[in-house]
Subunit: 318 residues, 6 copies
C-alpha cells in the first residue's frame, strides 16, 4: 500500500485511507450529475480526490472521518497532485485497520508525554509555582492527550502540543544545567504554561484543527493563559501581586518576544528570553523534520515551509 | 509674575514656583563647591534651574515638591532655556499660594470628572456589564482623582486620566447616537475600562509619574485591565466565558489596534474599532491643544510633538 | 424573493436582479458552445452566475446594467457561492421594478445629502474659505449625487461619497463644539474638500467604479484636490499664498496622514489631525456596518474586511 | 592659512573666516561674564569657536555673515573639534578677501549653469512643454543663481540646485541617446522642473538654508512644483487636462519614487522612472564626492554620510 | 502571421510557434481522454494553449522546444488569453523557420556584446584588476553568449546578461567622464563582475531559466562571484588582502545596496554606489522598455511590472 | 577595594584599576590648565574619571593600558556616574597586581576552551569536513586565545569568542542527540566556523576591540569565513563544488538568518536553522547574564541591553 506522500503523477494504487473532508458537488452538464470532493489522508500526508458519478449510497457512506479502501489513480492538475477514485468502499472490521493509524501523530505515546510533563511539574521546588502549574494542567485536562500545538504552523497533529512541551522541557533542563543563574522552576513552569491555553483557542478532533474558537479569536491563547494563572493563584490563595505570579504571567505574556508576534510585553527576565528561544528552536526544527518526513524520498527539496520565511529545505546527500 | 512658558532668553523675573525635581552637585573647582540642579514648574510648564553656592540650609530646604519664591534670570544654554537663581526662599502661608495651583492639571474638577464617569456607568443598561465596570472603578478608587493618563505622551497631568475618559465618553455617546448598530453599553464600558489599570502601571504623585511600577513593566496596563475584568466577573458570579466578559476583555486587549502598539489581539467587533479611534482622536487632539498651550504666544510653531510623528504644529493666523 | 446575501448552497430561487457584469464564453467541447458569465446584483450584494447554452437572443439581451428575472440554483464552487441559471428573461414595465432599487446605495437621499453639504458650506464664516469650497463643490457638480467614495474600500456605492462627507460633517461639528480651539471653518472645509476630486479619479456609473481614470492614476485625488483649490483661489482673486489657501491645501494634502498612505506632507495644524481621524473613524465604522449588513443573518462572523487589517468581524449576541 | 577641514587637535592657526552663526552667552561664575559662541566657516568646512571674555565692542562687531581674521587654537571636546579664539578682528578692504570666497559653492559659475539650463529648455521640441518649463524657470528667477538643492542632504551650497540640474541634464541626455524609446522632451522638462520649487520651500542666503518656509513645511516642494505647472498651463492657455500637463505633473509628483519618501503617486511612465534614478545617481555620487572633499587628506574614511544609510566612505589607495 | 502579443479574444490565426512547455493530461470524463497543455511562444511573447483529443502521435511529437505550425483560436478564460488549437504540425526544413527566431533575445548580436565586454576589459589600466576580470570572464566562458540576466525580473532572455553588462558599461563610462574622482578601472570591473556568476546560479537553455541550481540556492550569485574573485587572485599570484582584491570583492558583495536585497555589506566606496545605481537604472528602464514592447500596440497600459512596485506603465500619446 | 560596578554617588574609594582610555584636555580658564579624561576599568566594569591639574609627569605616566592605584570620589553627572581622582600612582611590582586581573574575561581558561574546540573538531567523522575545519582553526590561530566575539554586542571580552563557540558546542551536541535527523558533523563544523573570521574583522587587544579592520568593514566576517572555507578546500584538494563545501559555505553565509541581519542567503538546510538558533540562544542569554553581573547587587534592574530590544532586565527575588 503506497503512503500518500510517495504518490506521483500517473500512479495507480490501492489502499486504506481516512476521509478527512467530504463535500458533494454537481457538474455543470445537462442534466447535472453529483460528484464528491474528498480529502484522503494517512499518517504520511493528504491528497484531494474526486469521486465522479456519486450514487445516493456513496453520498451517504463517505463522510468525513470515515476509513475507506480506495482504488484510484494520481494525476497532476495545475501542478498539484489529485486522485481520481475508480473504486471505493468503507473499511470493515475484517480489514483490521484502525482510525488512529491514519492520523498524523506525535512520535511518542500521548500518555507517556503527559506523564513526563506531570513529573516535571512535581519536580518544581517552589510550592506556589508548582501549585499554579498543577492547576493549569488540570484545567487543560485530557485535552493534552490529543491537542495539536497549532492549526498548521508546527506540531499540527495528534498530541503535538504535549510532544512540543515535553521536548522543550528536555532542552530547558539542559540549558538550566549549563547556566545555573537561571531559575529552573521558572523555566520549567514557563515551558509547561506557555501554550497551555491552546486547546481552548482551537477546536480540534484527532489532532485536526477545524477552526479557532470564539474565545480563541477574541482573546487569544496568550492572554487566556495569563487569565488561567490568575485564576489558579486566586483559587489557591496565592496573592495576585506576588513575585511568583507576576513572573509566571510575564513568562506567558512575553513568550512571542515581539508585539507584532502577539506578545503585549517583551521579555524582561532572563527566563523569559530562554523560554522564547527554546520555543523557537523546538518549533522550527520540528517544522523542518516534519517537512522532510512528508517529502517523497526521491525529492531533494521540501515544499516551502511557511514558518521558515517560506523557504524550501534541502536534503543533504552527505 | 511670569508664567514659565512665557520666559525667554535674558528675562529677569520674580515669582512662585514648584520644585519638581532637586539634586545636589559639586563643581570641579578646587576646593569643590556644592550647587543645586532644580526643576521649577508652574501650571504652564517647567524649566531647569541652577542654584550656585548652595548652603547647608539651601540643601535642607529646597527638596522636590516644595513651593518657593524665586528671583532669577532666564538664559539659553545649548538652545534650551535654563534659569540662574539669584534669590530663593520657601513659600509661607502668608504668601497665600497653594501646591495644586502649580501643578499641571486637567481643565476640570477631578471630582466632577469622576462623578461624570460614575454616572455613565450607572446608565449602562446591561446589569453584568455595569457590575464589572463598577468593580473596576472601585478597584481604581481614589487614584482616579489624580492619576495622569500617561508618563509624558498625552494627558500627562493631574487627573489627566479621568479627563481623558470623560471626554471620550462624550465622543462615544455622540457616535452611538450617530450609528445605532453599535452597542452603547459596550462602547461606554470599553471607554471606562480601556486605561483603568494605568494607575497601577505607573507610580505618580500630583499627576507626575516618577516611574513605571514593577507590575507595569512586566505585565502592562492592557493585560492588567483584562485581569481586573476576570476578577470582577469571578467576584460577581458572572461566568468567565459569558459573551459579556469576552466582549469586555476583547475591548481592552485590542484597544491599541496593532501588535506593535501593544495589543495582543486586533479589534474584531465594531465597538472595539470605535474605541480605538475615539481613543486616538481624543489623545492626539489633546496633545496638540496642550502643545499649543505650552508654547509662548509669540511663537508660530510648537516644539515637535512625539506622539504625532514628531511633527511641530503651526498656529494658524486665521 | 431571496436577497442575494441570504442565498446559500443548494437554494433554488426566483427573483429580479441587476446584471452588473456580462461576458460571453465558449466551452471547450467539440463543437464548442456559447455560455455567459453574469454577475447578478441586488441592493444586498452580488453573486457570479452561469447561463449555459446561451442563444443568440440571450447574448443580445443580457448585457451589463440590465434588469432581469431569474430562476436559478445557488451552489458552492471552490468555497464561493455561484448561481446556475435555469430560466432568465428581461424585466418589463409590468414587473414594476426599477434599476435604482437594485443598486447598493447610501441609506439617505442623494439630494438631501448634497443639500446638507451645501448648507454647511453656506455656514462657513470666512468668506475666502467659503468661496473656495463653493467653487470646488461646483466643479464636482452633479457627480456628487451618485459618486461612490472608493472603488471597494469603503462607501463603495451610489452616493457613497456624499454620505461619507455628510456624516463626517456631523462628527466634525461635534468635535468643534467639544474643542473650541479648533477653527470650525477649516474643519468643515477640510471635510468637504478632502475627497472632492474622487469623482475625477474614478470612472463610475450608478455608484459602481469600473476603473481609475488616466488622471486618477497619474495624479491621484489628493493632488487633484490641491489643484482645484489653487484654481478656485485664482478664479476668485484670492492670493495663492494667503494663509487660508495654504491651510486648505495643507488639509487636503495631509489627510492620509503618512507618506506610505499617499500624503506628501504630514498634518501640521490641529485641524488636519482632526480631519484625518474623523475620516478614519467614519470610514472604518462604515466598513464594519456594511460588512455586517452584507453578511447573512445566521452567520456570526463577516468575511475578512480588507481595510481593517483583513480581520473578520464578530456579531455579538448581546 | 589652514583650511578648516585640515585643522586637528592642538593646532594653533591664523586665518580669515566667515562667521556663519553667532550668539552671546554668560558664564555661570559670580559675577557672570559674557562670551560668544561663533561658527567659523570657509569654503572647506566649518567649526564651532568660543570667544571668552567678550567685550561690548566684540558683541557689536562679530555678527553672523561677517568676515574676520582669527588667531586661535583647535581642541577636541567630546570628540568634536572646537576652536578657542585668542585674537579676532573684522576683515578690512585692505585684507583683499571677499565674502563669496568663504562660502561653500558649486564648482561652476552660477550664471553659466543657468545659461546651460535655459539652453536645454530652448531645445525642447514640444511647444507646450517648452512654454511651461520657461514659465516655471521665470518663476524661480534669480533664486536659481544661488539656491542650494537641500538644507544639508546633498548639494547644500551656493548654486547647488542649478549645479544639480545641469549635471542631471548631461546624464539625462546621455540616457535618451542610449534609449530612444524615451521622450527626450519629457526627460529634460522633468529634470528642470523636479526641484524647481525648492527656493520657495527653503529660506536661504548665500546658499545657506536657515529654515524651511511656512509654505515649504505645509505644502512641500513637490506639490508646489505641481501647482506651478498648473499655473503655467493656465496662464499660457494650455488645457489643464492635456496629456502634456498631465505628464509634467506626474514627473514632478512621482520623482521621489515612494510614498514614504514623499511622492503622492509612484512613477507610471518610463520617463518618471528615468528621472528618479538620474536624480538619485547624481545626488548620491555628489554626497560622496563632497564628503571626500571635506575629509582631511590624511584620513582614509569620511564621517558617516546621512543620505547613504549613514555609512562612512573609504578613500581607496589605488 | 500574427505575433503572439497582438492576439486578442476571438482571433483565429495561423502561424509558426515554439513549444516552450508541454504536458499531457486526462479529462475527467468517462472514459477519460488525453489532451495536451502547451505553451506557445514567439519572439513577442507567449500564450497557453490546449490541444484536445491528443493522439499518440501528437503526444510523441509535440514536446518542449519543438517548432510547430498552428491553426487556432484565441479566447479569454478567467481574464487571461488562451489558445484552442484546431490544427498543428511540426515545422519542416521546407518551412524555412529557425528556432532562434522564436526565442526572446537581446536586441544585439551576442558575439558582438561579448566582444565589447572583452574590449572594455582589455582597456582596464591596472594589471591586477584586468587579470582578475579576465579570469572571471573565462570562467563564465561561452555561457555569456546566451545566459539571461534573471529568471523573470529583467533581461530575462537570450544573451540578456551580456546585453545588460554592455549597456551598463556605456553608462559607466559616461559617469566616469562626468565625475573624474571615480576610479574608472573599478567601475568597469565592477560592472563586468557584478552578475558574472549568474550563469552558475541558474539553469538555462536558449535564455530560458528552468530553475535555480543547487549552488545558486545555497550560495547565491553574489557570494559566488566573490569566491571567483578570490580564486582568480590566488591563481594569478595576487595577494588575497591586496587593496585591489578587497575593492573588487566589495563591489560585488555590496551591489544590491541593502541587506534585505541580498548584499551582506553596504557600499562604502564611491564606485560601489555608482555600480548600484547604474545597475538599477539599466535594469528598471529595460523592464519598462520590454513591458511596453510586449504590450499590444492598442493598449495604453502595460500589465503590472513586478520589479517596479508592481505598477502598470502608461504609453504617453505625445 | 570596591569593584567598579558597586560604586555609587558620593562613594569615596581606594583601589587598583586599569586605564582603558586616556586623553589630555585643557580647561577654558585663563590661563588654561591641563586635565585628563581617563576611563578606569576592572573586571566588573568601567567608569569615566577626571584628573584635574594634570602635571607633565601625570601626562607622561597615565597612558592607556596602564595599571594604577587611585583614591577618588564617585559622583553623578547628568545621570551618569563619574569619578573625580584625588590621588593616583602607577602600580608597582610590589603591589602584586596583574594586568589580566583587570580585564573582563570569559569565565574559563582560554587554553582549555581552545582545546575543547580542537577536540570537537577531531571528533568530526567526515574527513573532508574535519580537514576544512582544521584549516580554518589554524588560520584563526592564537587569536582564538583572546579574541572577543563582538565589539560590544555580546561576549565582548577576553576569549569571548572561544567561550561562545565552546558553549554553543555543548548545546549543539545536546540538540543532535535529541534530534538524530541532524547531521552532527555539520552542526559541529557550523558552530566552529560561524564566527571564525571575527578576529580578522576586528582589531582587538586584551579582548578590547578598538575598531573594525578595513577588511572587516568592506567584506565582513560572514563573507570572509566563506572565503576561508574556499581556500581550505582548494589547499586540501577538495572540489569547490562538493556537497560538503557547499554545506559549510551555506552554514556560514546563512547563520544570521535574514538579509537585514547580514546573511546573503537564508537557511535552507536543517543544520543551518539549528545553528542560527543555537547562536541566538547562547548570545542572548550571555548578554543578560553579563548585564546582571555588571549591575550593582542592590539594583533590581539592569541598564537597557541593546541586543535585546533595548530592554532592561529584572532580577527576580525568588
Amino acid at each position: 500500500m503506497t503512503p500518500i506522500k510517495e504518490l506521483s503523477d500517473g500512479n495507480e494504487f490501492i489502499g486504506f485511507y481516512l476521509i478527512k473532508e467530504s463535500e458533494i458537488k454537481q457538474t455543470n452538464t445537462t442534466p447535472p450529475k453529483d460528484f464528491m470532493n474528498l480529502t484522503l489522508a494517512d499518517a504520511s500526508g493528504q491528497v484531494p480526490a474526486k469521486l465522479w458519478d456519486a450514487s445516493e449510497s456513496d453520498k451517504e457512506q463517505f463522510k468525513a472521518l470515515t476509513l475507506v479502501k480506495v482504488q484510484g489513480q494520481a494525476q497532476l492538475y495545475r501542478d498539484k497532485l489529485q486522485v481520481k477514485i475508480n473504486r471505493i468502499r468503507k473499511a470493515t472490521d475484517a480489514d483490521g485497520v484502525s482510525l488512529t493509524d491514519f492520523v498524523r501523530a506525535a512520535p511518542a505515546e500521548p500518555a507517556a508525554l503527559v506523564a513526563r510533563i506531570q513529573e516535571t511539574k512535581d519536580g518544581i521546588a517552589d510550592a506556589d509555582i508548582r501549585t499554579i502549574v498543577a492547576y493549569c494542567l488540570d484545567k487543560a485536562g485530557d485535552r493534552l492527550l490529543h491537542a495539536p500545538a497549532a492549526k498548521s504552523h508546527h506540531h499540527a497533529y495528534y498530541a503535538g502540543l504535549a510532544y512540543h512541551i515535553a521536548r522543550m522541557l528536555e532542552l530547558g533542563e539542559f540549558i538550566c544545567r549549563q547556566r545555573p543563574f537561571l531559575n529552573a522552576d521558572l523555566v520549567k513552569a514557563g515551558i509547561i504554561l506557555h501554550d497551555i491555553a491552546k486547546p481552548e483557542e482551537m477546536v480540534s478532533e484527532l489532532g485536526i484543527v477545524s477552526d479557532y474558537s470564539q474565545t480563541g479569536k477574541l482573546i487569544g491563547h496568550i492572554s487566556l493563559a495569563s487569565l488561567w494563572i490568575a485564576e489558579a493563584a486566586f483559587m489557591s490563595g496565592i496573592p495576585a501581586d506576588s513575585e511568583r505570579v507576576l513572573a509566571l504571567q510575564h513568562l506567558v505574556l512575553s513568550h512571542h518576544n515581539l508585539g507584532e508576534w502577539g506578545s503585549p510585553v517583551q521579555p524582561q527576565i532572563a527566563e523569559a528570553v530562554a523560554l522564547h528561544y527554546i520555543d523557537s528552536l523546538d518549533a522550527k526544527l520540528q517544522m523542518i523534520e516534519d517537512a522532510l518526513d512528508a517529502t517523497a524520498s526521491h525529492e531533494a527539496w521540501t515544499p516551502p515551509v511557511r514558518g521558515l520565511e517560506n523557504k524550501a529545505f534541502y536534503r543533504m546527500k552527505l
